[in-house]
């Protein structure tokens, strides 16, 4: 029926003015499409030139290309930002391109010190961009620390350290088990007086955990042995060493030490934050981690 009706239908006459309007609308619409799609694709520039490479929260998934799958899986909601007890996590701005709204950590300003113990950011993540396969801090593979400027390191120079690690104006906070096991306090409120500087080792959350485990073991040995076994399974207690201070040979008789990064390093960045030298003698490399080094 429609086939019969079609030839009868009069062809609509379009006035030249209307045709011109249509033509312009088509051109405008094409320009809008190209404009908006290109604008969105500009987000690839920071990815391509590597400026979007940053320290990510613990357990950020890693793909074939660095950061690629993490950017994809992250829904850019910032729930990880909200739960972090030390406010270490920030969201990327538009100069991170496709990384806009994706969480990162600026370790020198405020590192992740695992104050939360339970990896709150991982629990908060709604999409699994922070993978739930992680059970405890020692499992994290955020990066790997490196003594980037050994000559600047106070321990290597054989020097001690006295005063506030990062000066009085530094806003970063850290958990000091000896002050308060549960609440982090400002680094500026906690001056040191050290014969030889060992801040990166002393404040390393993994090293602190090892001390804590030893303490627990000691207490448990005095009471209930079954409890000790249960805890070991649940917490991987103690974890492997992350950083140690080792003596180095010196001809001049000065006692010199060197921080040596061990296979237990998770790349949290506390050593980078606490390092009293400007700029930090020890930094976290983002393209390495304990697993990639081992294998």
């Amino acid at each position: 029926m429609t086939e019969k009706a079609r030839p009868k239908k009069k062809k609509r006459v379009i006035s030249p003015k209307r045709r011109e309007q249509n033509r312009r609308e088509f051109l405008r619409t094409s320009a809008l499409t190209v404009g908006i799609v290109s604008a969105s694709l500009l987000g690839f520039i920071p990815i391509a030139n590597g400026s979007s490479v940053r320290l990510r929260p613990p357990a950020a998934i890693k793909g074939r290309l660095y950061g690629h799958e993490f950017f994809a899986a992250c829904i850019k909601c910032g729930q990880c930002v909200q739960v972090c007890p030390v406010n270490a996590i920030h969201l990327g701005d538009i100069d991170d391109g496709f990384g806009v709204g994706v969480p990162f950590i600026d370790a020198r300003e405020q590192a992740c010190d695992f104050s939360c113990d339970g990896l709150q950011c991982v629990l908060a993540c709604p999409t699994g961009a922070l993978t739930h396969h992680l059970d405890f801090p020692a499992d994290a593979r955020m990066g790997f620390a490196r003594l980037a400027r050994p000559k600047a390191c106070l321990a290597v120079q054989g020097k001690g350290f006295k005063g506030q690690a990062r000066g009085p104006a530094f806003k970063g906070i850290l958990r000091y088990a000896e002050i308060d096991r549960w609440n982090p306090v400002p680094v500026a409120d906690h001056p040191y007086d050290l014969e030889i500087c060992d801040l990166c080792v002393r404040q390393c959350p993994i090293e602190q955990r090892i001390i804590e485990c030893a303490e627990q073991d000691r207490q448990a040995a005095n009471s209930d042995k079954l409890a000790r076994v249960a805890q070991r399974i649940g917490n991987e207690c103690p974890p492997k060493h992350a950083i140690t201070l080792e003596p180095i040979e010196s001809a001049d008789g000065v006692k010199r030490m060197k921080p040596v990064i061990q296979e237990g390093c998770v790349g949290c960045g506390v050593c980078e934050m606490i390092c009293p030298v400007e700029s930090a003698a020890i930094v976290v490399d983002l393209d390495k981690n304990a697993d990639s080094l081992g294998g």
Binding site: T29, T33, F71, A124
Partner: protein, 325 residues
């Protein structure tokens, strides 16, 4: 002859022209209504009706809507800054008193880019889907999206400039919004990045409110300038894929705006205030298929037409529950 609500909605969401009845398709009763109104209203009558309506009705729905939109977005801000944990996260994904919610379009982008779905995201997406299925799909746009509100203010500026003949409105082909939806879905799938999120003003503004302003707001500013000086409500009308996603959800929603032709003067005030005026084509004399017609799903249920209609020919309805206004 009735039009199919779902088919007609889909056609208009993807940019098609609203279908019009042929002369024979207009039912007898509707033709009688049109006839009865001929010459019965003077301009003075209309003016009086307008004044009376404005006095008694005001901007009832606009006030309610703005209050709701501001309240919801404030909940996010307050929850974070005062650590009350009512609504954690941002509009892209959140936890409402511990329960997962995920914006449908953001979830779609993430799923296409990452190609893997975790349970929490399924829970969040389903919850939000059911929520907007009940509340009307694009209701999200006008009642929740923070960019919508800012764009609404920019629209007033645009309309004022148009009135002063300083700027001219340029229209685009509405089909392009469907193209954007498809392009951004494909880009997510192919590149593995959530490309649309980079420029989505909804996400950018929501995060800026909660986590503090950033450079990304420059992009939002550019969009607003474009809307003020070049094209009225361009982002929402022609570009935003979020609107398409929620529009499709709205196909099956019971919350709609209903048009009744009986008292309508066909003077077109509703189409002038509407963000998506094509959905109100039915209010044109001779364009309705029936005396009562539901406005199609591309409607954002903002209620501007309900506010402005002097004869209450446009009202909210919940299908199956009767009128609630």
């Amino acid at each position: 002859m009735r039009r199919n609500y779902v088919v007609e909605s889909l056609r208009q969401i993807f940019g098609g022209k609203p279908s019009r009845p042929t002369k024979d398709q207009v039912p007898e009763v509707l033709r009688a209504i049109y006839q009865g109104k001929r010459g019965n209203f003077t301009k003075a009558d209309l003016e009086a009706a307008h004044i009376e309506h404005k006095r008694t009705f005001g901007n009832k729905w606009q006030i309610r809507r703005w209050a709701t939109l501001i309240f919801i977005n404030l909940l996010f801000v307050i929850s974070y800054h005062f650590d009350v944990q009512l609504v954690e996260g941002a509009l892209t994904a959140s936890r409402v008193v511990g329960f997962h919610m995920a914006d449908l379009n953001s979830a779609l982008q993430v799923t296409l880019a990452y190609k893997e779905v975790v349970l929490n995201l399924v829970i969040g997406t389903t919850t939000v889907f059911v929520l907007w299925l009940l509340l009307g799909g694009r209701t999200f746009c006008s009642w929740v999206c923070p960019y919508h509100l800012i764009a609404e203010w920019a629209e007033y500026l645009h309309l004022w400039l148009v009135k002063k003949k300083i700027v001219k409105n340029h229209v685009f082909n509405r089909k392009v919004r469907g193209v954007f939806w498809l392009v951004f879905a494909l880009l997510a799938l192919v590149t593995g990045y959530t490309v649309f999120e980079t420029i989505s003003p909804t996400g950018i503004v929501s995060r800026a409110l909660i986590y503090g302003p950033g450079l990304a707001l420059i992009w939002v500013g550019l969009l607003l300038l474009f809307e003020v000086f070049y094209s009225r409500r361009a982002w929402c009308r022609y570009a935003c894929p979020i609107g398409v996603t929620y529009g499709v959800v709205g196909l099956f929603s019971p919350v709609r705006v209903k048009y009744n032709a009986e008292a309508c003067h066909h003077e077109g005030d509703c189409r002038k205030v509407c963000l998506v005026p094509h959905v109100l084509d039915v209010t044109i004399r001779g364009a309705a298929f029936d005396v009562d017609q539901d406005v199609v799903a591309d409607c954002t249920r903002c209620g501007m037409c309900v506010d402005v209609c002097p004869t209450s020919s446009l009202t909210y309805e919940i299908k199956g529950l009767g009128k609630f206004l």
